[in-house]
């Protein structure tokens, strides 16, 4: 049944995907009215799927890669709606909706949870805390990256004195900048605490050697980049191109850290 709700959510997220694709031929405003209610409803079904999944399995943190993807997609949608409520900006959807769709496609292709899918390592309260915090940190980083790309596009629009075209409906530069900064600011403590909680679990289970694990090393590099991003923004007010390059680098590292499960001995799910 959780898979059923997830697939319902997926079909509603498909409207968001169409919206994002339509942006490239200028039909975005036509879809705005139906997209937000559709993806909002999708998010509700997604929540039902997550809740039911947790109740059936008795595990309140993602226990497989598919569940992790599902949770990540849900958190991205939550971030999207928080930003929409605060700034009235729908433009981040252009990048977020396809990402959410892809994550949900992957998540919905998995199996329903069962007792046998229970991971060996995911058994402690600390793990729940670790996974929850890390995912919120990831969502902050992703949105900050999207905002920096939108900032570059809007900056180029203004510099080229182009008053027509598909990108002229983007929010004001200051609004995009604020979205990016706030996402960094909110995401960073979550990421930091997430890594600390992960370190505590790893220390208890593997001992001091956990530090040499590939995934953990990449995660630390990502955290350092995250901090540098925040610091350069805070101390020198880095915006635009330089900030976007740094955000891209941090985002690429985050993807690498996400994908590094197969290289890790200490950080693994049993389910596929």
């Amino acid at each position: 049944m959780p898979l059923f709700w997830l697939r319902v959510a997926l079909s509603l997220y498909a409207v968001g995907l169409v919206y994002a694709l339509a942006s490239f031929w200028g039909g975005r405003h036509v879809l705005t009215r139906i997209t937000l209610p559709a993806v909002g409803l999708g998010m509700t079904f997604h929540f039902v799927a997550l809740l039911e999944n947790a109740m059936l399995s008795g595990v309140w943190a993602p226990a497989s890669l598919h569940e992790l993807e599902s949770m990540m997609a849900f958190l991205l949608m939550v971030f999207f709606f928080v930003i929409y409520a605060r700034y009235g900006a729908t433009s981040p959807g252009i990048a977020v909706f396809p990402l959410v769709f892809l994550l949900t496609v992957s998540a919905a292709s998995g199996n329903s949870p069962s007792e046998s899918a229970m991971p060996l390592l995911v058994s402690q309260q600390w793990i729940y805390v670790h996974v929850g915090l890390i995912l919120v940190g990831y969502a902050g980083l992703i949105f900050s990256f999207i905002a920096s790309i939108l900032y570059l596009i809007q900056e180029r629009n203004l510099k080229s004195k182009n008053s027509t075209g598909i990108w002229t409906r983007l929010p004001a530069l200051a609004v995009i900048d604020d979205i990016g900064y706030k996402c960094l600011l909110w995401g960073f403590p979550f990421m930091t605490l997430g890594l600390i909680s992960g370190a505590i679990v790893a220390e208890a289970r593997v001992g001091p050697h956990y530090f040499l694990d590939a995934k953990i090393l990449i995660s630390i590099v990502m955290w350092v980049l995250y901090m540098v991003l925040l610091y350069t923004r805070w101390s020198a007010g880095w915006r635009g191109r330089r900030a976007a390059y740094l955000a891209t680098f941090a985002f690429a590292t985050a993807i690498l850290a996400w994908a590094a499960n197969s290289l890790s001995h200490t950080h693994r799910f049993i389910a596929p």
Partner: protein, 423 residues
Amino acid sequence: MKFQIIGVNHNSAPLGVRERLAVPEAQLPDAVQHLVKQPGVEEGMVLSTCNRVEVITSCNEAPADLRGYLRSYFGVSPDTIAPHLYEYQEREAVRHVFRVASSLDSMVVGEPQILGQVKEAYSVARSLGAINSALEALLSRAFAVAKKVRNETAIGSSSVSIASVAVQLAEKIFGSLEGKTVYLIGAGKMAELAARHLISHGAGKMIISNRTRERAENLAQAFGAQTAPFESLHETAAQADIILTSTGAAEPLFRREHGERLLKGRRNRPVFFIDIAVPRNVHPEVNKLDNLFVYDVDDLQSVASSNSAERKKEAERAESIIEVEVERFTQRIKSLHMVPTILSLQEYCETIRQAEIDRIRGRLGTITPEQESAIEAMTRGIINKLLHTPITTLKSSAGEPEAATIQEMVRKLFNLNNGKPKS
């Protein structure tokens, strides 16, 4: 009943002529009262704005002498105004009112003020009892059409003057102008106008710098702004979010190195340069630096022109909407002409029905309430079925050339012109 309009606008008459016909707000009720006293005028209103003076009326069958009204009320000789006047009747008058309310007849097509001005003129005339059924229908429809045009086209969504383009761009950079600082360097008229526009859109603080200190101080007084010495403008510029330049300097005041210093001083916060000077006060290289945006007079003009072209395209769409609405409205008005005949016909038949029921009731003896209502229903049904085709024909012929003949024929056939039917 006929719609009749006479007036002058920015296209037909120079300002000198429009001024002579302009009605101050306080005098508007008097002008309307005089208008409805004119022979033939049944309803009327006067619309007076800086770009137009128009008299909108609904008259009885004979056209009213509205030129005579203009002559007598405004005391202007016919020769002075005659070449500048336009007049519209019926369908053309309806189209004109729809176009005016939708801002298609405005000097700046799509500007939003005109709808408010039409509504104001309408409410003055209405409060004086000078607007009844016909103008009420026309104006209500005009407001609905204006709303439709605004909702279904993007006619009013882009700025077309240099000052409003400057505000539009500033809002694209800063979102809200609330609390933003404007730095006015030089004292060109256009820069001053743009600064006024920025302030009226929420910009919080203004700094003025000019080679002639006295001129800067006079301007600062007018704006309630601060002044800064011209010699130290690069140091003080870091306080500004928007820099408006319009000096007569032969060499640029801001070069790349000044831009770099400015960014450092502002910790990379964006700056919007509006350079209205010729030759330019800001070197184009400055625009290549991150977070500095330079628009010279040609750039602003080109944005305004592209917005104008966009508006023109939207105006064409708006004209099609108006054409459909004019057709719909005139059909409705024409069908209203048939209403008295239809009502007389229904009344005629109802009188016969009642008389026949009364005549037969004595012969039926005592009947139950159920039987009574059955008789009512049956006789009404017969009347309705008999009248269905004549009424439909009357309504559908409303817009046709033979409408008057059909109407007259129905009146003759049923003797509607001579009172009650014989029972």
